[in-house]
Amino acid sequence: MQPEMQPAHLAVLRETDRQRKSAMLQRLAQEFRITVLDILHERGTGHWGGAASAAELLVALYFDALNVRPEEPKWPERDRLVVSKGHASCMLYTVLAHRGYFPVDELKTFRQIDSRLQGHPCMVKTPGVEMSTGALGHGTSVALGMALAARRLGKSWWTYVLIGDGDLNEGQTWEAIMAAAKFKPQRLVALVDYNKVQLDGPSDQIMPMDPLPDKFRAFNWNVAPVVYDGHNVAAVLESIDWVKSQREWPVAVIYKTHKGRGVSFMEDNAHWHGALIDDATYVKARQELLKTLEALP
């Protein structure tokens, strides 16, 4: 099966002007939000909150930062991204499909029987998925292993891990943060999608993680001096520039994000972590997303 090419989307890969590229990616992220909303509503299952939160981060990574070959997903030299917050699966699949890993048409099979698109990412089934996730807490350890493998094999790929609030609750994540600071592999980067809302409510009520940058610093990580706006593609690209200029490893970047971003009544609301999107809600939400998209440059 040949991946269906999306010339309008892939054109962004050739854009060299940073400002124009940011604007294109910003639009892409918003279009993908609409796609995700459509799929979740149509299928009646899946997670909106964490997917919408990670839209700009995933778009910036796959359409700018990552050195990957969608036509050769297992290319040994590729950069790795481990999406440790696996419930962002629908956004990840949408980005992967539009990047050319598999047909966009396949997105409608999300969470259905015999689909390659499992409820949570499965590396064995889906081209482009670097690690099966969903159970929280695994990603940082796995990414550490990939970065150490690069050192052992004399390779220079980058390894990114996308972490969410729930991930940060897991003890294993902190085991990995400790170990990464011991082994200090080059080009290991933790990106925190810090929307501060988890399944049951605001993380300040469920499990407060502040002061998060200080926690990483206390564990001897090289932490970005500013918290970037994770919904502003230009800011995300700037953060990746900062990452690529670093010499001290491992590196962490924290992004202020909003769970359910893009729909006013879903933003920062734990209910929309994984609630069923009914018809009336869908219509209202889609109108809002479209309105924002139309207003984008």
């Binding site: 690690m131 099966s132 350890s141 796995v142 094999l153």
Partner: protein
């Protein structure tokens, strides 16, 4: 049979050093018990290929798995109990789900961490490992089989769990054909009953079979070094012949060898069975041989259970 005794953990440490040149992609992980599990010597010889991650088993398993996705062959070493329980989610959701070539070297297994007591004794690890799809589960009976199992595991393209005893045990297979994953060894040929055994109790089962022979009872003695995938054909042939099966393991009778044999035979060759192992209890501190005896893993118990099964 040789009467020499060698500890599997020592053999494990030596096997890593011996296999290192042949498997340049092999790397070794330990969780702050490298001195005990004998991976320390490998770490000294190959510091670039050795990762002591501290007492953090979950992270250890997943870090190794991440390396395995990049073409390396990690051997993950720690105590069996902590590997299968503190690393259970990682073994299941990362190593087994993705069928990654990681070797799980589960040391200090069974009652072999005898003086440390129930907190360290691993009598449920086979049940945990066996319940995970893609996992191959090997229980060597001596130091020779251990080295062979390790080499075989490094050649596999999926996860392999290898159970390792801390203490000296008799060398049984120095002159025998090499261990083959998935293939049972027939150690005695008989028609009155089947004895199926794995791991350290194998030498006991051999002695029990010889005692039974002197009493005119001929036992079909099978050493089941691979618990999963189990050699169902050999078991079924033997059970059809004898109709009576005693299983012997250094594990809870729930979920280990006895259960695996019963699963096969109940489908293919129903037989009267007796399962020797730890009777779903927490164990205690003590000398290894005293513990094995107290919890029913002994030549006497195998012999008496065999006679009980044979009585009408």
């Amino acid at each position: 049979m040789s009467v020499a005794s060698v500890a599997m953990r020592d053999a494990f440490g030596e096997a890593l050093l011996k296999l290192a040149p042949e498997f340049p992609e092999m790397v070794v992980f330990d969780a702050d018990v490298a001195t005990s599990t004998r991976t320390a010597a490998f770490g000294k010889e190959y510091p670039d290929r050795f990762f002591n991650v501290g007492v953090a088993e979950a992270n250890m398993v997943d870090t190794a798995a991440g390396m395995a996705t990049c073409g390396l062959r990690p051997v993950v070493s720690t105590f069996a109990l902590f590997l299968t329980l503190k690393g259970a989610d990682q073994l299941r959701n990362v190593v087994c789900y993705n069928n990654l070539p990681v070797v799980l070297a589960a040391n200090y297994a069974g009652l072999s961490d005898s003086y440390d007591g129930a907190s360290h004794q691993s009598i449920l690890d086979l049940a945990v490992a066996r319940a995970m799809p893609n996992m191959v589960v090997v229980v060597p009976a001596d130091c020779v089989e251990l080295g062979q199992a390790l080499a075989a595991a490094l050649r596999r393209d999926g996860p392999t769990y290898i159970r390792i005893c801390r203490n000296p045990t008799p060398v049984l297979f120095a002159d025998a054909p090499a261990l083959e994953i998935g293939v049972a060894r027939k150690l005695r040929d008989g028609g009155d009953l089947t004895i199926a055994v794995c791991g350290v109790p194998t030498s006991m089962a051999i002695e029990a079979a010889d005692r039974l022979a002197r009493r005119g009872v001929s036992a079909d003695l099978l050493e089941i070094s691979t618990i999963k995938p189990i050699d169902a054909e050999t078991l079924a042939i033997s059970a059809r012949k004898t109709g009576k099966v005693v299983t012997v393991e250094e594990h809870n009778i729930h979920g280990g060898l006895g259960s695996a044999v019963a699963e096969v035979l109940s489908q293919r060759a129903p037989a009267r069975m007796s399962m020797i192992g730890i009777e779903d209890r927490f164990t205690e501190s003590g000398a290894y041989d005293a513990l094995l005896r107290k919890y029913g893993i002994s030549v006497d118990h195998i012999e008496s259970e065999a006679m009980r099964l044979l009585s009408p």
